[in-house]
Symmetry: C2
Subunit: 308 residues, 2 copies
């Protein structure tokens, strides 16, 4: 019997998103949960299990017709062994054999991976990086994460830890970073750092959404703030494209909603700082799949693994 | 008839090295020429042609038994079209169809590529990066160049321009770089910059070889100078391994002869600045093939292309 459904799950520190997808990865049904509403690791795993089982029950699907469950997680994952090493922003997860646990609980094939990698896979297979052989897809949010497509496939590196664009040093010396390093890009343009700058300019009640709105309304302080973020990102990306001669860089995550002023600053900085051949080659796009990128990437993970 | 010989050529701004190699890339004969002894581009191309023809004549080889000529060049090259875009340190080369010209002059298949890429290929196939899937091989000299091995093959990027580790920004602001950017790694640790520092410490007649000798004789100023070079290189490499989760970094070129003090400083900086998983994975080695890396890489280029 042909497999006709895939379940895609995107676990974030804020939301647990679960979706029922058809074989073309169109979303048939979607459930959001507040991640913090699950008291601990065991309850969160049970929540994921229940969500999977509910899709099957409520939609009258036979378990045999589900080709698999794909899950993106916000932290380092051994995708081949199916182990979550740890989740920096969700307490209690350490070396969790999630694939094995969920396969036992659901009777379905389960595949897990890092969420930024799955977003990159989704943008490559069906978003803004489609048809480009060499791409960096990055998300600007609390963390600055990324996934690399190299020679047309997701590049993992020796420990499935590649893609950490947020931890490129931007200066020889600079602010400490939670990763243990210092002067990392994330320490300058992660949400917390941008918000700190914004509070100096606009007072304690400002939010990044408001800074974006102010910039769109031509507030010069807000515009300058996003230009500075774009310059810093552009300097780091100049190094990446000099090294990798990429075809495309796709930028997503909440901060990317700052829009035109941010993207223009990134592009201008790359033209100024990167080597001319590399700068000419690379396209800079806003991510297309938005909030669904993680779910769809999880669906692609299932499709790619099941083929092997 | 089985092909039994390959000709490998490494054109540098200082030396033109030509070698006759057997099918296992063992060097059978080698000629060095002073690149500057050729007055212009046409004479240099004729010099390369003569050198190829002389090997065949002097060693009594039939032209049919030569599987090809491989050539490494110090600048951007379209390896597939066989065109040299330009050579920053050898005047008069602009969009030269070198493959076509030499094939006509010699009657042999000719393959050309950027020299840093061929050094990386050589270290990957028969040097310190052997058996590692993901590697960066870099050369520290007048320029800071590099070649990447990704998933077990030479990574080129969209324009065959990947690998430019020398042009990773080390700071947001810093000295201008000949590439057009600023604060590039090469602007801090290229030969000229190190020599400038050394002259401040040891007077105008110092050479980098002497600084290395002084460091080995425990001169603390010389040691500090190499430690600083190692720190700067280590910071840039921390970003690269965070991004690429590499298995190995191989360092060659004249500056790498500074030896232990330099390599220890690089390693220490990586342990301090890079993410722990990535830092634990990566090995840092000195290049093994030394002066012959370019010639041998040119030989591997012929072998890889002829198989297709």
């Amino acid at each position: 019997m042909a497999k006709s459904s895939i379940i895609g799950i995107d676990l974030g520190a804020t939301n647990l998103k679960c979706a029922l997808l058809d074989n073309d990865l169109k979303i048939k049904a979607k459930n959001y949960f507040n991640t913090k509403s699950f008291d601990n690791k065991l309850k969160l795993i049970q929540g994921i299990t229940d969500s999977i089982n509910n899709f099957i029950l409520l939609h009258g699907i036979s378990r045999n017709s589900v080709s698999g469950v794909g899950i993106g997680l916000p932290g380092p994952v051994d995708t081949f062994k199916g182990v979550v090493h740890f989740l920096p922003n969700i307490p209690g997860w350490k070396e969790v054999r999630l694939k094995e646990i969920l396969e036992r609980k659901t009777g379905l094939p389960v595949f897990i991976d890092n969420d930024a990698k799955l977003m990159a896979l989704a943008e490559y297979r069906s978003g803004q990086a489609k048809k480009y052989k060499n791409a960096l897809c990055l998300t600007l949010g609390t963390g600055v994460g990324g996934g690399l497509i190299i020679n047309g496939s997701l590049y993992r590196g020796g420990d499935n830890a590649a893609g950490e664009i947020g931890h490129l040093p931007l200066n020889e010396k600079g602010p400490l970073c939670p990763c243990g390093g210092s002067a990392c890009l994330e320490a300058y343009i992660g949400n917390a750092s941008i918000l700190k700058e914004a509070r100096k300019l606009f007072g304690p009640r400002i939010t990044l959404e408001k800074v974006s709105a102010l910039a769109k309304a031509n507030n010069s302080k807000a515009i300058d703030l996003w230009i500075k973020v774009g310059e810093r990102l552009g300097i780091a990306l100049s190094g990446v494209i000099n090294l990798l001669n990429l075809d495309v860089i796709v930028i997503g995550g909440g901060v990317s909603d700052a829009g035109k002023v941010l993207f223009e600053s990134v592009r201008k900085t790359i033209n100024l700082r990167a080597m001319s051949v590399q700068a000419k080659r690379v396209k800079i796009f806003k991510a297309r799949l938005g909030n669904d990128a993680g779910i769809i990437g999880a669906g692609f993970l299932v499709k790619e693994r099941q083929i092997r």
